[in-house]
Symmetry: none
Subunit: 218 residues, 4 copies
Amino acid sequence: MTGTTREIRTFSEDEELVSQRRRQIVDCAIQVFVRNGYQKTRMSDIARACGISKGLLYHYVSCKEDVLYLVAHDQAEGTIKGFGALQEQCKEMSPTDALLEYIRFYYKVVHDTQDYQVFLNQLAALLPRADRRILFDADRFALEILQEILERGVKSREFEIEDLTITAHNILLLGRTWADRRWFLARRYTFGQYLDIQTRAILRAIRPQAPAGTAGAD
Amino acid sequence: MTGTTREIRTFSEDEELVSQRRRQIVDCAIQVFVRNGYQKTRMSDIARACGISKGLLYHYVSCKEDVLYLVAHDQAEGTIKGFGALQEQCKEMSPTDALLEYIRFYYKVVHDTQDYQVFLNQLAALLPRADRRILFDADRFALEILQEILERGVKSREFEIEDLTITAHNILLLGRTWADRRWFLARRYTFGQYLDIQTRAILRAIRPQAPAGTAGAD
Amino acid sequence: MTGTTREIRTFSEDEELVSQRRRQIVDCAIQVFVRNGYQKTRMSDIARACGISKGLLYHYVSCKEDVLYLVAHDQAEGTIKGFGALQEQCKEMSPTDALLEYIRFYYKVVHDTQDYQVFLNQLAALLPRADRRILFDADRFALEILQEILERGVKSREFEIEDLTITAHNILLLGRTWADRRWFLARRYTFGQYLDIQTRAILRAIRPQAPAGTAGAD
Amino acid sequence: MTGTTREIRTFSEDEELVSQRRRQIVDCAIQVFVRNGYQKTRMSDIARACGISKGLLYHYVSCKEDVLYLVAHDQAEGTIKGFGALQEQCKEMSPTDALLEYIRFYYKVVHDTQDYQVFLNQLAALLPRADRRILFDADRFALEILQEILERGVKSREFEIEDLTITAHNILLLGRTWADRRWFLARRYTFGQYLDIQTRAILRAIRPQAPAGTAGAD
DNA sequence: CATGAATGAGGTTTCATTCAT
DNA sequence: TATGAATGAAACCTCATTCAT
């Protein structure tokens, strides 16, 4: 699903240790990247943030770009895991409930990782073209789950949607907006308000138009 | 409107020439930035793209960051000019027509400058905090105009909108999406299709709900 | 005494190593500065003279000017240390002996570091105004010690001096002259001759004039 | 006397104009050199100080070093001219009067051109070895005249001097000191005081020791 | 004669990466 | 395993000098 996990050179043979260190590296590197940007971050900054030496950092990573890849990979994996779990939960729900759950879940994630989201925008541009795939794949996965929900809703006549793909896109993208435009939005709305308003707007946009007359009891 | 234009050192006193050269620098630099990213672009790359020497580049700009600023400033100015003109045009139109015009205009701009739009995402992160303002100001300006249109529509009962600001935001952001997600969207839709679908989705979302029954003759 | 030691950025935290490397840098840099002048000396020249890489040089120094400062600081410190020791030695001596010792010491230092002395002339001009202080302070220290000796001599009637400060100045300056004018002096005198002649001239100038008649048996 | 005047390329054939311009260049360049040092002064600084364009500057000078040479040459010429005139004046005077006149003259020159004198210290180091000659020649000329005076005084028994050359040197050098050490001296003495004190010290040092008894007729 | 736009060699500084300990 | 001193390629920037106008 995630595509090939590119092999990253390591000097250690203790896989346990390697993945534990890399976990640490990812967590710390993200923070520094978010704060200073990838390019302005030096390997020594990353090492210091991890509390290890530059030399040791190079035991678990062969170059700076590897760190970026690890971050991207981690993000993608996290997304897929998160949405995978969500998918399970939603299976039993009605389309509308599932959608509400989906929105609440995703928008919350965005809210909780605002700074990170902003950095994600740059991530794709920084990665070599080949490595971008893992990000795209994760995105696509999140979209598919949303699309499934929408599809079920369309089938059950709870939703009326012209174009599933684009609708799913719109719903997702407007979630990200909370992070991208927080310099504007956070001054005017709390996250709760934003979530409510967007949720209602989404529902309104896909709720069947009342051809008969008994439309939406809001 | 755009805030203070930061002064950039130049060695020439011929203002005409300076602004002409800077125009050239901005135009060429954007292309290289878009292609390679800001950090991977060397001053000599920019100079070569302009067809001038590194030395001459430094006659019109005091450091690499100045180039970035010029690009941002140019973008902001262009946005403001473009939307200013649009505003004039829309004044006489009905809210719906104005909105349609607005959408067509903005989405077209995004489409025509796709690569540039992608770079713009990084621009804010690259600029020192103080200089970001000019980008925000431009964005805010585009929003205001859209909000005016929506407001007129609400007054005239052509639109029914819960939250003007967020609706305006949504409309704008979904335009950008065409550039941000073109790796996904462009495979499935032509620009024309995308524009049509989003336009309809927007209208549908703000069209007054049929309180009676004669709702959507689509 | 020397005023504040300006902090110089280093990447190493091993103080021992830092000061050892800086010692090395100062010693080598002086030689190159003396030979080629500060401005014509490139950082890579200094690095090569030290037998280290340009990069490592920047571990112990943040810019070229820092090297200059280190040199000046070292010189000032050396001066103060040298004259401090001299002061101790002279305490027990008679004023005349102390003066002779002082002259011999200082003129010898100048002789042994001729090239360096010539460079010192430029040093003050090269340093940013604030950093010149350390040189002035060192000079002032050397002067004070000389003045003390002269004062003792005046009290004991061994010397007869109109203006202590200026006399001390004169004695000092004529020592430097050996370095400044070596293009002229070294062709006509050996250092020993010069030292003798100047010593006699100095003594003669401050020896009490025979108000009676029993003056100088030269 | 001054050695060969090195030929400096010019594009102009109007000798009158050339020497007039060079006069201007020397006068202005000195000021900038004194203020900022030779190396930190850019050709454009010199041009601006002269009120001409960089291009025109290069009509009268072929490179930056030429400017330095012109300055040195001018200084040497001025020295020689000044001391030449002095020599004439002194011819008729008694040795003592001549010496007093000499001292007054030279110390005054130093006082009037303090900043310049400080720069002169660097000049020799900046000039290519060959060009230093003109400075040395000028110095030697000033020395010779002083020596002549001293010699006459020795012959007439007005002075009693062990070593003519070194004494002359000492007298000259202590004049320069007023400029070199003005950061120290000017705080404690006016120029007049300094001149008086040094004059007396000099006279005292060369005044015949009273083997008889008739010592100081001051 | 006069200008200042244009060039590019060369210096300073940074930092990813290596390697001896 | 862990360190951080050491390297050097490569980027930024300056400024003496040229030359078209």
